[in-house]
């Protein structure tokens, strides 16, 4: 039973991680790629780490896995915000319909 739940969580997390990879490969613009990857990757890591935690059972390892999840949830969003802010301030124009018409 535990293995079924853990495997389902791992597969669900893998779907989100692969969605993030498709996003970073296929989307047209830096800001769109950043938008796709940061959220998908954070949720994918949370689900897959939850799968690992369910597999190991309630020990100190579970606490450490949850600590990894909490830290990555804070840090990934910070990095995405810093990257988007740096790109906008350094003059990288977003891919909007107005920008495409003026080209």
């Amino acid at each position: 039973m535990t293995d079924v739940v853990a495997g389902a969580l791992l597969l669900g997390g893998l779907v989100f991680v692969l969605a993030g990879v498709v996003g970073i490969l296929r989307l047209p613009d830096f800001y769109a790629r950043l938008h796709a990857t940061s959220k998908c990757d954070t949720l994918g890591l949370a689900l897959m780490a939850a799968g690992v935690a369910v597999h190991t059972g309630p020990t100190l390892i579970t606490v450490k896995v949850l600590l990894v999840v909490a830290f990555v949830a804070v840090v990934n969003t910070t990095v995405a915000h810093a990257l988007g802010r740096a790109a906008y301030r350094s003059g990288l124009a977003p891919w909007t319909s107005a920008a495409r018409r003026s080209q």
């Binding site: 990857t37 897959m48 840090v75 990257l83």
Partner: protein, 89 residues
């Protein structure tokens, strides 16, 4: 359990290779940094899965935690640095 974990770990490694395409080919430096942070997150997941596979979760969770603490610093510093330059390639 390891019957599921081994293919998942291989798919994750393949996804890391695909993210490497954006690091190598990305039009701007910020695309490359995004790809790098994506690879860092995937390697944290891969470390947790390696702990499950080798049945040494206690050691690998510590490695994943310290890698999660360290991997941020580089990308954040480079983002702050390139903020002041003009849209480098």
């Amino acid at each position: 359990m390891s019957g599921v974990v081994v293919p998942i770990a291989w798919v994750l490694a393949l996804a890391m290779g695909l993210s490497m395409y954006r690091v190598l080919a990305g039009p701007t430096i910020f695309d490359r940094l995004t790809g790098l942070s994506l690879i860092a997150t995937k390697s944290i997941i891969l470390l947790l899965l390696l702990g499950v596979l080798s049945e040494r979760e206690d050691a690998f969770v510590d490695i994943a935690l310290s890698y999660a603490l360290i991997s941020v610093v580089g990308v954040l510093t480079l983002a702050k640095y390139f903020e002041r330059t003009e849209a480098p390639r």
